[in-house]
Symmetry: C2
Subunit: 422 residues, 2 copies
């Protein structure tokens, strides 16, 4: 039998235990299964679990790490239902999603498929927030965020088209990382709006976010900066004209203090008024592309689809091409403008992840509003589970870097997370 | 029975016949089936044909237009084999590719699946060039180009990751259009390198290229410019340090004369030396992304795969992330530089589509070299079948516009094509 250990240890600590012989490659798997048996009846994070214990993995950056996959990620050996409750579903796909092979090549163990909202839009699944079972975990990557927060797996994958990683990470109190657009292949993952869809992941440790980035992209290992001396942080949420809940304001203020204590120079970021239009542009790009991308699903299954999804697709079907083009062109231009800010003014941006803590009820998944602009810009975004709001509920903030500067963003976040909260 | 008519008429002319009652909605379908029966034994453009005559379509911009789909485009009712000869294959997918619904909504009729190279890379299928059966039609969209060139269908779809539309269009003497990156959804189409893959189409008339663009994007109808007075054309092939075959040089010179006769101002385009690196960058992006995207296919089927595909994937598996990132960042920057050229200096660029006419033999599909840079830049590219080379073989040239200026590019090309060759 396996030796019990701290379930919430970081991936690297488990790798060290494997090297020293303290743990065997399937130990974490078995611990996770126990944890799932205990917590799943309440949390309901899983659509389906792997029916068998896998072969012991040999090696890799993720050797023996059990992972959850959002149920829009296709697998040969497990069914996929895309959160449709059955109107779309397959007992197994012809080919695994590329992600599955990239993970298994690094020794990861596929624990199962996590609950997603319907086709990764708004209609919720069954999952509850592990911190308060009467509240939403957020969406669309609901089950992945909740599974990590409940300690059922140390790593789980999701996708973000509007705010489907950062928002549930904030509500569930875990790290959630959306890398630069196109950093990891979406092959075998249901698309929604191809110029926005981004694969990302949840973990309980910033180091695990970094390890996973290296494992999937083959980027060099990312070390936390020793200090934030000279690091410039711009504070700016988008949209900027909304009053954030006091919980979020406090979390931002506390993060700012932590940053400054580490030597960072924290300043307001003066983004001009063109950035205010990005939220609307993101909605238009999403509607236009979803209407194209889900045209066949809509034709076959509109009667079974949730009304909000049907409404989005039908809105997209009537959105003029000129509007779509304008939104894309503006986004292109603002990506360049923002890149110049990242050269001239700041290293990272600090922003709200969401309006407040996880809303009450399971009939909706909260609002992705504060993620929309950043997703359209294609920049890497990292939710830091740094705050506690009323009733002790988690409150996240995001750190945002420039496109392809994922390693820089993660190195800064790594430093920030080494300090105990002040 | 149907009334015979000119098979090679434009889509709009057929629509007029439908309106006037001269033709019935399935007439073009039946004519195409006859043409396929006559030509297919030699040309071998089709992987599978629709087994039944479809229901008569009611309306739409493509009402009654038979279309061919490259066999990486998934369909519920027809098998897909992705050019693998069987190591991957399905008798029918769970959902149609988005394109299928977008086409059928406009009244198009799916004639069948056209031959593709293996997974849209280099290993050729069975298709021959209709202009000389001993020569390649080009690839990877081999069957779609050949089917249109042989008059088997007026419209067929393919994808371009390096040069898979423009090159076969040039070799087969048809129009081939690769719109702006992301203009039409690839949902349900096998991906290869997601930041390069672009859906496009082949036709015998520039008007049909335009009609199809409007049908799929809902952009307004595109009219040919009445004259090219004031239109600025920059001449520049990429790479620019290769000597083009005399056939292509003559085709470029003749196109230049036609442009000038219509009032255009034709000048050399001074792109700086950074553009010279784009060909290598495209290769690196393609290898890196293919290694990720086809990771599962490679794991399951490397033994059955063609050696060039295996070599590309394995090259991509070892390409450092830093090289991939550098290529993507350089491409981003050059997209902006080129956009400024498109504002300040030129309206369109005239460039070689390929080194020369279709090479002899069916063991290879020619070189996409002269398309690689433009594909990485994401700009719309249109092959014009304007030239005839030695032995009367087709020679194309490309016109290239700025991203999202597809309508401007097509309006200029429309004017150019109204003049008879001088």
């Amino acid at each position: 039998m396996y030796e019990p250990f701290d379930m919430t240890m970081a991936i690297e600590a488990f790798r060290n235990r494997l090297v020293s012989g303290e743990s065997q490659p399937l130990d974490w798997w078995h611990l996770c299964r126990e944890r799932i048996a205990a917590r799943e009846p309440e949390v309901q994070a899983w659509e389906v679990l792997a029916p068998r214990t896998p072969e012991p993995p040999a090696a890799g950056l993720l050797c023996g790490v059990p992972v959850g996959l959002k149920d829009i990620i296709e697998t040969r050996d497990l069914p996929t239902a895309w959160g449709t409750g059955g109107y779309l579903g397959t007992p197994g796909s012809l080919v695994d999603a590329a992600l599955v092979t990239l993970l298994e090549r690094q020794g990861a163990l596929i624990m199962g498929k996590t609950v997603t909202t319907e086709l990764a839009y708004f209609t919720p699944g069954k999952t509850r927030n592990p911190h308060d079972l009467t509240r939403t975990p957020g969406g669309s990557s609901s089950g992945s965020a909740a599974a990590v927060a409940a300690g059922m797996v140390p790593l789980a994958f999701g996708t973000q088209t509007a705010g489907s990683i950062i928002r549930p990470a904030s509500y569930c109190g875990v790290f959630g990382f959306k890398p630069t657009f196109d950093a990891v292949s979406l092959a075998g993952i249901k698309s929604f709006a191809p110029s926005l869809d981004t694969l990302g992941w949840f973990a309980n440790h910033i180091e695990d976010i970094c390890t996973t980035f290296s494992a999937l992209t083959r980027a060099p290992a990312i070390d936390a900066l020793p200090t934030l001396d000279g690091v410039r942080v711009g504070v700016r949420s988008l949209p900027s004209d909304r009053v954030l809940d006091a919980d979020v304001q406090r979390a931002l203020a506390r993060t700012r203090i932590r940053l400054e204590r580490l030597g960072a120079n924290v300043v307001p970021l003066p983004l001009d008024e063109r950035f205010a239009a990005l939220v609307e542009y993101q909605k238009e790009v999403m509607a236009y592309e979803a209407a194209q991308t889900l045209a066949s699903e809509h034709r076959q299954h509109a009667d079974s689809m949730g009304p909000r999804l049907v409404a989005l697709i039908e809105e997209g079907q009537t959105l003029p091409y000129a509007r779509y083009r304008q939104a894309q062109q503006a986004a292109n231009e603002l990506r360049q403008v923002l890149s110049r800010f990242f050269v001239d003014e700041v290293d990272v941006i600090l922003a709200a992840s969401a309006q407040g803590v996880a809303p009450e009820g399971l009939q909706a998944t909260g609002d992705p509003l504060f993620c929309r602009a950043w997703t359209l810009l294609g920049v890497p975004c990292l939710n830091l589970p740094l705050g506690r709001g009323h009733q002790g509920l988690p409150v996240g903030v995001q750190l945002i870097g420039d496109r392809f500067q994922d390693d820089r963003l993660l190195a800064i976040a790594g430093c920030l997370m080494q300090v105990r909260p002040g």
